[in-house]
């Protein structure tokens, strides 16, 4: 797996060179700017809104990186023809795919980690000036460690999106891969509707297809615990573990699929 590690490090370095981390500056400006404005606009809900904004921005920025960097992971190598010397080296195609995936995952991990730190810093600054009795009336403390649970599931969510983008990019153009990934992501948000399709449709075939889609497509709503965490609603460790397990299996399935497709591609 040394080859996969080398590929992963190369992907991470490339994302640094491509200024992917510039989004962190934007994130920090957004959070600080909003925290200054919020006190004037929101009737004392600034901490809740900063938490909502921080988590939403972490998820959204990560989503853009996962999709738009993910779809180019393979196609860029092919377009630049750098795939030929690369595959001529002692590296298996499976290692190449896994390395690419882990490299982007590392980039996303740094991204989410820095955003989490920035969010806690802004929340600390906001809470510092608020009297203790007022803080007691909040649904959850400003520096609630449970925010990390939401961050963790955002990261797990991004890991699945990255695997999807990589899977599609092994056989499709970047634009189509982006459309497919976004499409699956959007449908994955509506999974509950697919499950209850029989409530609005009477055709057994359509219901069966909807049910199949419900089980086969990734259920992205599982990873969304942002509201619960912001309002101090407990999220159990078993839920986190089961959701992470579901994501790990789904990612593994996508990576194996990507390896199969990529192994069959002819680069002559």
């Amino acid at each position: 797996m040394n080859a996969a590690r080398a590929v992963a490090v190369a992907v991470f370095r490339e994302s640094v060179r491509d200024r992917v981390f510039y989004n962190l500056v934007l994130f920090a400006v957004l959070l600080v700017g909003t925290s200054i404005l919020m006190g004037q606009l929101t009737a004392g809900q600034d901490v809740k809104i900063i938490k909502d904004l921080g988590l939403a921005a972490t998820s959204l920025f990560g989503l853009f990186i996962a999709i738009f960097v993910g779809i180019n992971l393979v196609s860029k190598e092919v377009d630049r023809r750098s795939i030929y010397p690369l595959l001529a080296k002692p590296i298996r195609r499976a290692e190449f795919i896994v390395g690419k995936y882990l490299g982007l995952l590392l980039t996303l991990a740094v991204n989410v980690l820095v955003m989490a730190i920035a969010l806690y810093v802004v929340l600390f600054m906001l809470a510092r000036d608020v009297a203790e009795p007022i803080q007691r009336a909040w649904d959850s403390p400003a520096l609630d460690p449970a925010l990390l649970k939401a961050m963790a599931l955002i990261y797990v969510n991004l890991a699945v999106v990255t695997a999807l983008a990589l899977f599609f990019s092994t056989y499709s153009s970047p634009i189509l891969s982006a459309i497919f990934t976004l499409g699956v992501y959007v449908v994955g948000q509506f999974n509950a509707d697919l499950k209850h399709f029989d409530r609005i449709v009477d055709a057994p075939a359509a219901i069966a297809i909807a049910k199949a889609c419900y089980y086969v497509l990734p259920d992205f709503s599982k990873f969304d615990i942002k509201l619960a965490v912001v309002h101090g609603v407990p999220v159990s460790g078993s839920y986190l573990a089961a959701t992470a397990g579901y994501a790990a299996l789904y990612v593994a399935a996508l990576l194996f699929g990507a390896i199969v497709i990529f192994s069959r591609r002819d680069f002559k």
Binding site: Q45, D52, L55, D139, D193, H231
Partner: protein
């Protein structure tokens, strides 16, 4: 064209656009009083369209509700105050984020506020709070607020007392809620009982709630002052000089020669002073 020239040209064009934009705002005001628009009114649609970003979308609708309420409340004639979007905005915010406590609690205060200070719709305040109770049945604060709407806006003291009692039965409810239910039932409609209710809320840890309670207490003081003025008028046979209300604004005489809170006062309107347009 050199890079410096292009940069200067870009900056020049941008400042021209900004200047024109500002000039338009100053010298060419909009010809019509544009009504507020809410393109999506279906909570179910917006919930799906939010794509999992429910919390932040709820915040946006909450801020819009605050702005809508503030804009209408501070608007001057010939604009006719209308709070038509207030309930739909609050409904969207609370559907997206069912735990959005302040949207239920502050929202119900906005909705119940008599016209023109608010829409004067205690029925919608009740609907909003009931939605909150359905989402979080154990939240005694919603039940307490519901009791206040029945007490203050609808003068339905029996239902108010029952609601306070139900709030008192919930886990974590403060000890003063149970005697409050008894006082409400025994002395409903009495200003002293009302004052007791607001004094409890004035001690709330939520700044917006305590400031609202302080305003209500000032309104009660103003009502006491008006009663004292009427009594003095009856006893002396002539109208005494008009005093200042607790906010420092002079009381005024209405068309019938009776004392009332001025429209310029921040206490306007006190309960029963004005009815919303139908």
């Amino acid at each position: 064209m050199t890079r410096v020239t292009a940069g200067l040209a870009s900056a020049l064009c941008l400042s021209g656009a900004v200047g024109l934009h500002a000039a338009q705002d100053r010298w060419l005001p909009p010809a019509v009083d544009r009504p507020g628009l809410l393109y999506v009114r279906s909570p179910e649609v917006i919930k799906r369209a939010a794509l999992g970003y429910n919390g932040i979308t709820a915040d946006v609708y909450w801020i819009r509700a605050l702005q809508h309420f503030g804009e209408e409340r501070l608007s001057q004639p010939p604009h006719v105050r209308s709070y038509a979007l207030l309930y739909p905005l609050l409904d969207l915010a609370t559907t997206l984020d069912p735990y959005f406590s302040i949207a239920y609690r502050f929202g119900s205060i906005f909705l119940g506020e008599p016209y023109p200070g608010g829409p004067g719709r205690p029925d919608l305040a009740i609907a909003l709070l009931r939605k909150g109770i359905e989402a979080q049945p154990g939240k005694w604060q919603y039940m307490q607020d519901l009791g206040f709407v029945y007490y203050w806006h609808l003068r339905d003291y029996r239902t108010a007392a029952e609601t306070f009692q139900r709030a008192a039965d919930l886990p974590g409810a403060p000890s003063w809620l149970r005697p409050l239910a008894a006082v409400t039932l025994a002395e409903g409609g009495h200003r002293a009982a009302s004052r007791a209710l607001w004094q409890q809320l004035a001690q709330s840890e939520e700044p917006w709630l305590s400031s609202s309670a302080v305003l209500r207490l000032s309104q009660l003081d103003a009502m006491d002052m008006m009663d004292a003025w009427r009594l003095a008028k009856r006893e002396r046979g002539v109208a005494p000089p008009l005093p200042l209300d607790p906010s420092g604004t002079p009381f005024v005489l209405n068309a019938a020669g009776d004392i009332e809170v001025s429209r310029d006062s921040k206490l306007f309107p006190v309960p029963g002073q004005i009815q919303p347009p139908r």
